[in-house]
């Protein structure tokens, strides 16, 4: 297995820049997820690592070898495409053998690898069929199998679960995780689905507008988002954002004044905040509890109520019009129109300016 190193990668299509000065180091055996909205450049970055797109500036190193000048076949990477890209007129076995034959692997070695992988993925019975004769989920396994037999230094996945229905997606997610555990293969996985990213990744690379916003473990990303974008992209429902002013107080910790006048005491050091900046207050729904009318830091009227079974989400309109999503117990009795109190867990609050996020101190190790 191999280390991957990206150094100052940039790329443009004509005058449009699609990747802007990206650097990254992936450790051998790591499962890294490129996460981001459509158009952020994650697929392009993946394809550049594979050799399917050229690199305008920067270097790509795989396993201690510089590869950005090499054709895809010589980089020792394997890729699982979004639509699988299986060769339609070849049987599953021939699909898996094709790459190995092209590099002159011996016949019985090919057979051995195919047999092993087919057993691992439970596709032995499909070997003599053609891609058109098997289901979508089976095609996906074959695509993975085709990658596995090559025993590459690096596995690349380009949104492989997008074409599967929800149930199959969850199951396949689990299988990919198990596969990774067994094979201990360096893997880069591209997706726009944060659940996939959170559950599969050792580290997540969040991208937005052709740049990397944050690199970190799932919990780091979740609890200490580097920017407002990251905070809003990960977590369901989306984090609450309201513009605030920081009050002048004696304590070290910043006290945020919400638009409706209420105050929340955070655990963010005032000294870490920039001078005279416009700040946004961010807090997740699970850190805003519904309380009685007279209790809590502020109150408002319930606009919507979403009952999810294990919890209830209440959309509360504050006095001056902004909306906060709060969480209540699954059996909550709150109805639309009710006036409820909101209790903020100040320790879980974040502050964001245009550049970065500010979080509670000390950092929580997770």
């Amino acid at each position: 297995m191999a280390d991957i190193e990206l150094k100052n990668i940039s790329k443009s299509f004509g005058r449009t820049q699609v990747i802007a000065d990206v650097s990254l180091h992936v450790r051998s055996g790591e499962f890294v997820v490129f996460l981001g909205p459509s158009g952020c450049g994650k697929s392009t970055l993946l394809r550049m690592i594979a050799g399917l797109e050229s690199v305008d500036e920067g270097e790509i190193w795989i396993g201690g070898r510089r590869v950005d000048g090499l054709p895809p076949g010589e980089r020792r990477v394997a890729m699982v495409f979004q639509h699988y890209a299986l060769y339609p007129h070849m049987t599953v076995r021939e699909n898996m053998a094709f790459g190995l034959r092209n590099v002159g692997v011996a016949g019985d070695e090919i057979e051995r690898r195919i047999a092993d992988v087919a057993r691992m993925l439970e596709i032995e019975l499909l070997l003599e069929r053609k891609p058109g004769q098997i289901s979508g989920g089976q095609r996906q396994r074959v695509a993975i199998g085709r990658a596995l037999v090559k025993e590459p230094l690096l596995f690349l996945f380009d949104e492989p679960l997008s074409n599967l229905d929800a149930a199959l997606r969850a199951r396949t997610r689990l299988e990919i995780a198990q596969l990774h555990q067994r094979a201990e293969a360096t893997t880069i996985f591209v997706t726009h689905d944060q659940v996939e990213a959170m559950t599969l990744a050792h580290r997540i690379v969040i991208m937005n507008k052709q740049r990397i916003e944050q690199i970190g473990t799932p919990m780091e990303i979740y609890t200490r988002p580097a920017t407002a974008f990251v905070a809003g992209f990960v977590g369901t429902p989306t984090m609450n954002f309201v513009p605030v002013e920081i009050d002048e107080t004696a304590s070290e910790c910043a006290e945020a004044k919400l638009p409706d006048g209420s105050r929340v005491t955070t655990r963010i050091a005032k000294s870490s905040l920039p001078e005279r900046a416009k700040l946004t207050f961010g807090i997740r729904a699970e850190s805003v509890r519904v309380a009685g009318q007279q209790a809590g830091d502020t109150k408002g009227r319930a606009l919507f109520v979403e009952r999810l079974g294990d919890r209830t989400l209440v959309y509360v309109e504050l006095a001056e019009g902004s909306t906060i999503v709060a969480e209540d117990a699954g059996m909550s009795r709150v109805a639309i129109g009710d006036v409820v109190g909101l209790e903020f867990d100040g320790g879980a609050a974040h502050l964001f300016d245009e550049e970065r996020g500010y979080h509670a101190m000390p950092a929580v190790d997770d």
Binding site: A50, V77, F81, H83, A85, L86, Y87, F98, G99, K150
Partner: protein, 279 residues
Amino acid sequence: MSVAARSHGLSGNVLLPALMIALGILMLGPILWALGLSFKSNAELMVDTSSVFHSPYTLQNYADIMAGSSVIRWIMNSVIVSLGMMFGVLILSSLAGYGFARLEFPGRNIIFVLVLFGLAVPEQAVIIARYQIFSALDLHNTYAGLILPGLSAPFGVFLMTQYFRAIPKEIDEAAALDNASRFRIFWRVLLPMTLPAQATIGIFTFLHAWNDYWWPLISATNVQMYTLTVGVAATQINFAESTGLGFLMAQAIFASLPILVVYLFFQKYIIRAVSGAAA
């Protein structure tokens, strides 16, 4: 009958089918007439052609064909030329189609548009010059002389390019990651996916070559090199005086057989090719 079926065509219980069948028989009329004449002796027909409607009938005309006439030779020439042109066009247009669809080389788009313009050029605009070129190269009365002009037709290239373009690029990319060379991607991965287009081009080219008249007429002037189409024309020239109506019709029927047999076997593909290409 469903709403759609009723409105798609002109329906009418028994009347329309009966009318259509009658028209169908009418359509076959010329062939039936020729068939009838071919089974009568020349002598009888010379006296009175309405003798076609009653016996005696004879196979003598067909026997005469098998015995002496050059029809067999002409059929062989047509087979060689048609198959040769068909394979030649398939190979050239597959290679070119892949090149235009998938490979980037300088001027690719301009060159492709120029090739498309060739679709508008009729045979008459180039045939005189071609004749001179082939005269200079001494290629008249050869198989090459009959096959080569057909290889320049842009139709096959156009179709193959469209077809290759329609294949998702992911397949190429997967093959590139599988370490396949450009040619290997073409030969082992993409080409097998284009069989329907190959069938269409193959059929069209074969039919065109088989039925071509003007070029073989002027290029293959040696009786031994006639294609079937030219041969049938040659026997018509001295129509009335020559070998007799019965024999002539037997030749016409005999000459129709090969292509009609091909039509019978490949009717589905031919029709699909014609309607598909137009879509």
